[in-house]
């Protein structure tokens, strides 16, 4: 680094921090192109910038929770009484005489109050109070934090009057499934709307479908996050001796009741611990922290925070159609399914669903032999058969269909075939067939 480079250090620090005036950026970049020492310095500062950004971002994830705690403390505070008490106390403590008098009054008051103490202490917290409080919960916003990621998973749920799940929305960050990218899932009226926000490799799209296996899975996930059901389950398990529950009710009324749930060795959740934080006033769960026993210590696994109890959720939150930009591709799997089963009557469906790879291949080539193009369409995802295909394969003769086989590279089956075309030439190849499709029956995948 040259001696005049010392002056450049200031500019590099400003560049990396984003406060270097635009006019100086170009000149500095030119210098960086020429000076390796300054380039190294800039690179080091950039790395540190990333570290600082990440470091403070990690601290930032807890801010909402902290704000909630402030609000809880404020809700439990009594403005007028507290400030008046404070003033009176300060006045008393200013003089030694009033100090002694106050001490005497306190001693007498303590002696007199011993007899009525039992009646005046607040009642202890019990799990039933939370179950009772949860009965009126219709709306809820949940955030799930993972210790190794900044962005939380978020859930919004709406329940009906009986507490049964009505609609739900999930925000899944990219880290949850990097190959899919970030997603938003809405479950409403037994239909799933899945918005893949896209990655560098995959385009964004909105997929909707009904009555798929995923619906049950999502429904169960949402129910598991419903604090009403979770606490009721704990209550039952406690009654059966399946969990150990300890309740800590701090003397400071601004602090939450802490319910520690430990699963004994014989439990299916052996080694797990959940710590519930219950709001003193509402008796509702504000957060659950999860731990797992490892090498004799409980290791933190994550937190679930509950917000906005009973704050009605905007119905738009459960309607992705309006929210997803117009240029995003929309895929309705139900319509696709209907499209794939085109031309197959309800009575015939079972026949096609039960076909083996070999039977499907025979039926496929037979349709070509008969030039029955409607029948051929039942085995492809195409909407029509091209004329050149008809000309090439129409009227063929099946010589032989071999035994299907699999390879490591392909999930479906290869079915060897030998056919004689109308032109007289013989084609010997293998058809690729697969049932990994929406209708889950064997269809053409290639080799034709």
């Amino acid at each position: 680094m040259k001696s005049d480079c010392q002056k450049i250090k200031d500019q590099i620090a400003d560049l990396v921090t984003g406060i270097l005036p635009e006019a100086q950026v170009h000149v500095l970049e030119q210098h960086l192109n020429e000076c390796a020492a300054c380039r190294d310095y800039a690179r080091a500062l950039k790395d540190e910038d990333m570290l600082l950004t990440e470091f403070f971002a990690k601290i930032d994830t807890n801010i909402t929770h902290q704000q909630e705690r402030v609000l809880q403390a404020i809700n439990h505070s009594d403005v007028s009484r507290k400030s008046e008490t404070h003033l009176i106390w300060r006045t008393i403590m200013k003089s030694p005489i009033t100090k002694l008098a106050a001490a005497a009054v306190i001693i007498i008051a303590v002696v007199l109050s011993i007899n009525v103490w039992d009646k005046s202490i607040p009642s202890a917290y019990a799990l039933e109070q939370t179950i009772e409080a949860n009965h009126s919960v219709r709306y809820l916003h949940i955030k799930g934090f993972d210790p190794s990621h900044k962005e939380p998973k978020e859930y919004w749920v709406e329940c009906d009057e009986s507490g049964k799940l009505k609609s739900a929305r999930w925000h899944m960050p990219e880290w949850d499934a990097p190959e899919d990218g970030a997603k938003v899932v809405v479950w409403k009226e037994n239909k799933i709307h899945l918005w893949f926000k896209g990655t560098t490799k995959k385009r964004s799209c909105l997929v909707t479908f009904k009555e798929e296996k995923g619906a049950d899975w999502l429904y169960n996930r949402a129910q598991a996050r419903n604090p009403r059901l979770a606490v009721e389950r704990l209550y039952e398990q406690q009654a059966e001796g399946k969990v150990k529950i300890e309740v800590d009710q701090p003397a400071d009324k601004a602090k939450s009741v802490v319910v520690t749930v430990t699963y004994p060795p014989e439990s299916t959740k052996s080694g797990e611990r959940e710590v519930l934080f219950v709001d003193r006033g509402t008796k509702l769960v504000t957060a659950v922290k999860f731990y797992r026993l490892k090498d004799g210590k409980y290791e933190y696994q994550g937190t679930q925070e509950y917000y906005d109890y009973n704050q009605p959720i905007d119905p738009e939150m459960f309607d992705l159609d309006n929210e997803v930009p117009a240029d995003v591709q929309r895929i309705d799997r139900d319509l696709q399914k209907i499209e794939l089963n085109k031309g197959i009557g309800p009575d015939e469906l079972e026949k096609y669903e039960n076909m083996t790879p070999k039977e499907m291949t025979i039926a496929f080539f037979q349709a070509c032999a008969d030039e029955d193009w409607d029948e051929l369409l039942k085995f492809t995802s195409d909407s029509e058969i091209k004329q050149e295909t008809k000309d090439y394969y129409g009227g063929l003769e099946i010589i032989s269909i071999g035994e299907p086989f699999k390879t490591d590279e392909y999930h479906g089956w290869f079915v060897p075939y030998e056919i004689r075309l109308k032109s007289g030439s013989i084609k010997k190849w293998k058809l690729a067939v697969s049932n990994r499709n929406l209708v889950q029956r064997y269809m053409l995948d290639g080799g034709f």
Partner: protein, 175 residues
Amino acid sequence: MNKSLDESVVRVCRQGDKAAYAVLVKRHYRHVFALCLGVLGNVHDAEDIAQEAMLKGFLKIKKLDKTDQFEAWILRIARNLCFDFLRRQKRKKVLFAKQLMQPGQRTGENHVLQQAIRRLPQELRVPLTMYYFDGKNAKTIAEKLNISHSGACQKIREARKQLHELLRERENNEK
């Protein structure tokens, strides 16, 4: 615009309206926490003091005459509480280094960075922390700390340079 929103909310809060104060908590808690973190250099203490400052703000809001100056006022409360806290700590002769080495605290890269930040002089640590924690905007940092924009830039620059030296020093010691 922000100040005028604060002004109307503060007026309602002065009637003892807790829900209105929630608006101020949502708007300003982050800045208060960032300041406390900068002054104290310790997340747990910063949480405690920031929360105490917000609560104190609510209890004392009737004393705030300039209703459009809530932010400056609450930051002043937070700063004073931080200094009280540091004075108490000093009396207890608790060293900064000991505070940092709390059991269960993460080690590794974060720990090294946190230690280096703690070793920065307070007048640089506060703007640096607020800058990274609070949206990377030197102009708003300048407003919050009541210093000029160029003054804020200078402090952030100096903090970055000193932090780099501290990290390099640590790296060399480990070799």
